[in-house]
Amino acid sequence: MTNKLFTVIAEILEVPSTAITAQTSAATEKHWDSLRHMQIIFAVEDAFGVHFRDEEIPLLTSVQAISNALASYGANPV
């Protein structure tokens, strides 16, 4: 399965988008450090036209969490 969110995150983590799943997270990806986290947030916001609240951001450390947050803003992560 490929979707837009996977592609955006894969670009930042510098891995093929096929390597990304809903379970991909800061815990499973050694590249996903705090700087990449910021890059991911910027890139996701840019791609989906949303603006996460500051208290959400530290929690958005997995693809699933980001996907859920996007859905809560009415954005379609696929």
Partner: protein, 577 residues
């Protein structure tokens, strides 16, 4: 014929390495910068310096040279994180500004690779409000002075120090687009994505220009682009083009923007499906049409597909399609050109016509880092070329054409004022260049100072005007013999036998001034100069052997014969002393 500045460009993904030296968290720029560089055809590698080590990294000197094409350093220094009290009472703005200026000066003085520097942003909010005391004034003046100094530094090193104007991004974007407080306080990363995108675009643009990938030619549609309405239907008086009423004024202002670009060296052409006579009537007779026939290097005004017309124009102007920017209002035409000629940058006229006047400045597609005198007169020289081609088409016999051109060449010994142009010609000329020796500027200065060296330059004029300094001959005195080290002619003037007249005049000079009895000359074959393989023999030289170490040698023992064989009756020669 090829314009000499176009020869060295090539396709393919260029390698580029960018290192960012900074005093705050700027990593969030990475995806935007990578994307901007990839979109410009680069294969980028980014490297970020340490968080608190800007000083050491600058002091350590240039980035290690790699095999990665262009190397660019971005010095990203802001006030935001430079001292902990940013924007608060007693924030030592003057000291912080001085420190930043010191870092930039050090980098500019010690580094030789291209460097992006930036203006800094004053705190958006300050505790004083309307109570403008001396402290606020001091803070603001320090920042204004720093930015002014940074602009001066960049202007003094054009092409090496590039200014990324943060103040300008902030003006364009406002608070929301500039700052992202979420990451400022959590990660020392003050800037928002839109700001970082503009910054990334400028860095990518500078990289593009440094690697010679620039757009040079603006090709414009006419109806609903240069004016509102359709000239073929609405007529000269019916089209919308006016200095004082809308919508005509949008188009008038757009035309002025086009002329601004021409002023900095962009070549102009038209590509329109129209009757040529209708368009020419507007260009010649409409009182508010500021783009005139004389501004144009060429045009295709006919009913042929625009892709064909663009390809023909590229051929006629001797520049690559990848240096074209094409503007049209018709979405179908735009899409077709994008599909068929992906190397052309296509801009569609916006639906909101009030955006038309600033359209061409927004993306600064014609980005150059330096504007030279040659750029300022380029439109003129292309116009002259066009008129020459028109004459050539009307004359059947090539000899008549050369006669009608009334070519005049003026020879003189090069002086200090010629060093830049002579070096440029030596570096860029490929086709008519007998030895392709790429002497650099310091070498030229050395040669100028030497009494046993003759550096002759040749300026060409004809009935259409000046073609400029287009020929260089370098001779070395070896007793009674003169040795021609270099001879070249810009491809702008090839095909007119000027090279012969130039050699005749130079030989005459050598005979008179140096009492030269024989002239030695060389031909060093390259991939691009085979057209001059038999040049020396045609001038009366005799080949003295075969190819040895890549060089073929020639000698003329009778200078008078060289002069008589090379002189051309249809070229007037003048010597300036």
């Amino acid at each position: 014929m090829t314009n000499e500045s176009d020869v060295e460009e090539s396709g393919g993904a260029h390698l580029v390495s960018v290192q960012v030296i900074r005093n705050f968290t700027v990593e969030a720029i990475a995806p935007f910068l990578t994307r901007a560089l990839v979109a410009s055809g680069f294969s980028p590698e980014l490297r970020f310096g340490g968080f608190a080590s800007a000083y050491q990294e600058i002091a350590e000197g240039d980035m290690p040279s790699t095999d990665r094409g262009v190397c660019m350093t971005v010095l990203a220094l802001g006030l935001e994180e430079a001292a902990p009290d940013f924007g608060h009472v007693n924030w030592p703005a003057a000291d912080v500004c001085e420190h930043i200026l010191m870092l930039v000066r050090m980098a500019v003085a010690t580094w030789s690779s291209p460097l992006c520097i930036n203006t800094v942003l004053a705190p958006l909010f300050q505790p004083w409000g309307l109570a403008r005391g001396s402290e606020l004034t001091e803070v603001e003046n320090s920042i204004v002075a720093l930015n002014s100094e940074l602009r001066t530094i960049a202007a003094a090193a054009p092409g090496r120090v590039i200014l990324c104007d943060w103040e300008h991004y902030a003006r364009l974007l406002g608070e929301q687009g500039t700052y992202d407080y979420r990451f400022w306080y959590s990660s020392r990363a003050p800037f928002a994505a839109p700001f970082l995108k503009l910054y990334a675009e400028d860095i990518a643009k500078a990289t593009r220009v440094l690697s010679g990938r620039i757009r040079k030619c603006l090709v414009l549609d006419c109806d609903n682009t240069l004016w509102g309405g359709i000239v073929g239907e609405d007529g000269l008086d019916g089209i919308q083009l006016s200095t004082d009423t809308v919508p005509g004024r949008y188009f008038y202002e757009f035309q002025r923007a086009v002329l601004d670009l021409a002023e900095r060296g962009v070549i102009l052409a038209l590509c329109s499906k129209n009757n040529e006579a209708d368009v020419m009537e507007v260009l010649n007779n409409h009182t508010d049409c500021v783009i005139r026939r004389n501004h144009l290097a060429g045009w295709r005004i006919n009913w042929a597909p625009k892709c064909e017309s663009l390809a023909e124009l590229a051929n006629e102007l001797n520049i690559g399609l990848d240096s074209f920017v094409f503007v049209d209002d018709n979405p179908a035409e735009c899409e077709l050109v994008r599909q068929m000629l992906p190397q052309v940058a296509v801009i569609q006229v916006p639906d909101r016509r009030e955006q038309l006047p600033s359209l061409l400045f927004r993306d600064d597609l014609f980005g150059t880092l330096v504007v030279t005198d040659t750029d300022r007169t380029r439109a003129e020289s292309y116009r002259i070329q066009r008129e020459r081609r028109e004459l050539q088409r009307t004359v059947k016999n090539p000899e008549d054409y050369l006669e009608l051109l009334r070519t005049r060449i003026v020879l003189r010994q090069a002086g200090e004022r010629d060093v830049a142009r002579v070096t440029q010609l030596l570096q860029r000329t490929n086709q008519f260049n007998l030895t392709t020796r790429r002497h650099d500027e310091s070498m030229i200065r050395e040669l100028l100072a030497s009494p046993s060296t003759l550096l002759l330059v040749c300026e060409v004029f004809d009935r259409f005007g000046s073609v400029g300094l287009t020929g260089v001959l370098l001779a070395l005195r070896k007793g009674d013999v003169a040795e021609i080290d270099s001879l070249l002619l810009s491809c702008r003037v090839l095909g007119r036998e000027i090279e012969f007249a130039f050699v005749a005049a130079a030989a005459d000079w050598l005979r008179r001034e140096w009492k030269t009895e024989a002239i030695d000359a060389e031909f060093i074959p390259s991939a691009k100069n085979m057209q001059c393989a038999d040049f020396w023999e045609r001038c009366g030289f005799v080949r003295s052997g075969s190819l040895i170490d890549g060089v073929i040698r020639f000698r003329a023992v009778d200078v008078t014969e060289v002069i008589s064989r090379s002189s051309r009756s249809f070229i007037t020669v003048e010597a300036e002393t």
